[in-house]
């Protein structure tokens, strides 16, 4: 336990140093890349909670990511134009308002989708979550007020009192703090009795039901919590890239989040972050050499799925086991 805490602290400090290293080596883009990877890691970790711990294969997770992002975008749009959403809610650029609202709205959307989807299971569950995500995708494409297919440009990052959010490094550190807090939250969550029940449902739902646990309700709570996490990461992403578009909800984005979870290791805390970092690094590095970067990524993914059980985390554990 002690050793794990120490390791986490070292990783946190190393990540906090990234802007300095980037400035020293003149690789300014590093801060942006690592920041994006951290946010994707949060989104993948939120998916991992239902997918890895709860055994619910949701193929529509990008919808909540996009909804969270759109909350920030819509608030900014009305703030910029001086109008009000539905004529009552004024726009704002205060992060202390936009992020909590993004979390709540994504949670409500997840409650709606989850309440209906969780009545099915197996293949049908995968497909119905995908269907709901597609509905949100097409809904946002059809909203011409908010840019339709083009999305919303958020010209200025939301402000936080006392911080200069225009500064790239400051924004990065804010993201890092959120990612660290979310990691700790998830660690607490999976160790809690609630997390134990969720894991129990994955292992044997019928037995949990026989023990008197209302499994549908617990699965729904987990689904909503997970959607809220995705909403938070989407809101951060829009702040980070200053852009919200329906592309955030495209079904291939949901696929990518699943890839990150698998690549890193299903049902592990650090796995999704490692997977997000690995996939993101791989994509950007390969994209520098060839425009056909999707081919090696596809082949690598296929090999990982077919040959390993447990992704990169399992590989690390295996190597560790061999070394000791």
């Amino acid at each position: 336990m002690k050793r794990e805490t120490l390791g986490l602290l070292v990783v946190f400090i190393l990540l906090a140093l990234v802007p300095f290293v980037a400035a020293l080596t003149g690789q300014a883009s590093w801060t942006r890349l690592v920041g994006q990877a951290l946010i994707y890691g949060m989104a993948a970790a939120s998916l991992n909670f239902i997918l890895g711990y709860g055994g619910m294969v949701s193929f529509g997770h990008a919808a909540f990511f996009g909804i969270g992002g759109y909350v920030v975008g819509v608030f900014y749009h009305h703030f910029d134009a001086g109008t009000a959403f539905l004529g009552i809610i004024p726009g704002t650029d205060q992060m202390l308002i936009t992020l909590p609202v993004a979390i709540v709205v994504a949670g409500l959307a997840a409650a709606l989708v989850g309440a209906l989807s969780l009545r099915t299971g197996g293949v049908q569950f995968i497909m119905i979550t995908l269907a709901f995500a597609q509905m949100f995708f097409f809904l946002f494409i059809s909203l011409k007020t908010y840019g339709g297919e083009d999305g919303i440009m958020v010209r200025r990052t939301n402000s936080l009192p006392g911080l200069n959010m225009k500064d790239k490094a400051t924004l990065y550190w804010v993201v890092l703090v959120f990612a660290a807090a979310y990691y700790l939250f998830l660690r607490r969550l999976v160790q809690s009795s609630f997390g134990q029940i969720i894991a129990g449902i994955r292992q044997n739902e019928r037995r949990m039901a026989a023990m008197g646990i209302s499994t549908y309700r617990y699965k729904l709570y987990a689904f909503v919590l997970s959607g809220m996490g995705a909403g938070l990461s989407g809101a951060l992403m829009v702040n980070f890239l200053r852009f919200a578009s329906p592309d955030m909800m495209h079904w291939s984005r949901s696929g990518e989040l699943m890839v990150m979870v698998i690549l890193g290791g299903v049902g592990t805390l650090a796995g999704p972050f490692i997977g997000a970092g690995a996939l993101f690094t791989l994509e950007t590095t390969l994209a520098r050499f060839t425009e056909h970067w999707m081919l090696p990524v596809g082949i690598l993914l296929l090999v990982v799925v077919l040959t390993t059980k447990g992704g990169l985390m399992a590989l690390v554990a295996k190597l560790k086991g061999r070394a000791e």
Partner: protein
């Protein structure tokens, strides 16, 4: 009225295409229990091979044969190389491995054919139009597509209900373990079913190639609609795939044709247009959600 009839025929033609894709997918789903996201890639393979050969040789029929061969070959290779290792895995691994296959197929197609869409034309004898109602000329080729789809549906019906292979397929969709326990060469059956599914997907691609632009990503668009058809029809049921395919094809086409204009009568300006298009795209997914809430296993679920 004439417009309505024309759109109904368009819907029928789209529905037949969906059926060709869904028939193979639902059998693969039902018998092997795998989710194959890459089914749309086989559709793309068929379309590309047919279009390329048709452009090179100038013969639609040469394209038809090569499209069918290419997609069936690709299907058998995918089954032997990848699918075979996935049957015992959980759905998550299947989704990811076939997602990876989509990336591989799409990117290979970009490398071979580039990003520019290919355009081909219908064969000469079907290049005209027939006046099916007074004042309504309808392209002969689209009627041909509908006819091919219906013939294939009939052929599949006979194959599945009247032959020994079909009996094994039905048995496999109902209870896989039992078929294996009775000493049937299940590996061979799997490869054959997968190849047949790929062939049907390729046929759908070939038939669509003169109507749509043949380009990378064409499979991704239609595969989602195909999944909706499979799930609504009931996993493993070819009859369900037929009914759901035709109904959804017509429903989708009708929404796209008439909803934007209808909305424009009650709402002002370009927003109504955009909203109409958006809601039409949502239509089939909404229908699937409704069906699953009432019948969680689809309309004609094969497995009890």
């Amino acid at each position: 009225m004439i417009l309505l009839f024309e759109q109904l025929l368009n819907g029928l033609q789209y529905g037949v295409t969906l059926f060709l894709l869904a028939a193979g997918l639902t059998l693969i789903f039902g018998i092997m229990g795998v989710i194959n996201l890459a089914h749309g890639a086989l559709y793309m393979v068929g379309a590309f091979a047919a279009a390329w050969v048709a452009i090179q040789t100038g013969s639609f029929w040469g394209g038809l044969v090569s499209g069918l061969l290419a997609s069936a070959l690709a299907g058998v290779l995918v089954e032997l190389g990848v699918m075979r290792r996935l049957y015992a895995r959980d759905h998550l691994d299947q989704v990811l491995a076939t997602f990876a296959l989509i990336l591989i197929f799409n990117q290979s197609a970009v490398m071979v054919f580039g990003r520019q869409p290919l355009f081909t034309s219908a064969p000469e004898i079907f290049s005209g139009a027939i006046e099916i109602l007074p004042g309504l000329p309808y392209p002969t080729y689209r009627l041909f597509v509908i006819a091919v789809g219906l013939v294939v549906a009939l052929g599949l019906y006979v194959l599945i209900n009247k032959t020994r292979v079909g009996m094994l397929v039905r048995a496999g969709a109902t209870n896989r373990q039992m078929v294996r326990a009775l000493g049937v060469n299940i590996q061979g059956l799997y490869t054959a079913v997968f190849g047949l599914g790929a062939l049907l997907a390729g046929l759908a691609g070939v038939m669509a190639s003169p109507i749509v632009s043949v380009q990378v990503g064409m499979g991704d668009e239609i595969i989602l609609a195909t999944f909706v058809v499979v799930v609504i029809g009931g996993v493993g049921s070819v009859k369900g795939a037929f009914v759901a395919g035709i109904v959804l094809g017509m429903f989708d086409t009708m929404l796209r044709a008439f909803l934007p204009a209808t909305l424009q009568q009650v709402m002002p300006g370009p927003e109504a247009q955009a909203l109409g298009v958006g809601i039409s795209s949502m239509g089939i997914y909404l229908m699937m959600a409704l069906v699953l809430l009432i019948r969680p296993r689809g309309l004609f679920a094969a497995r009890g």
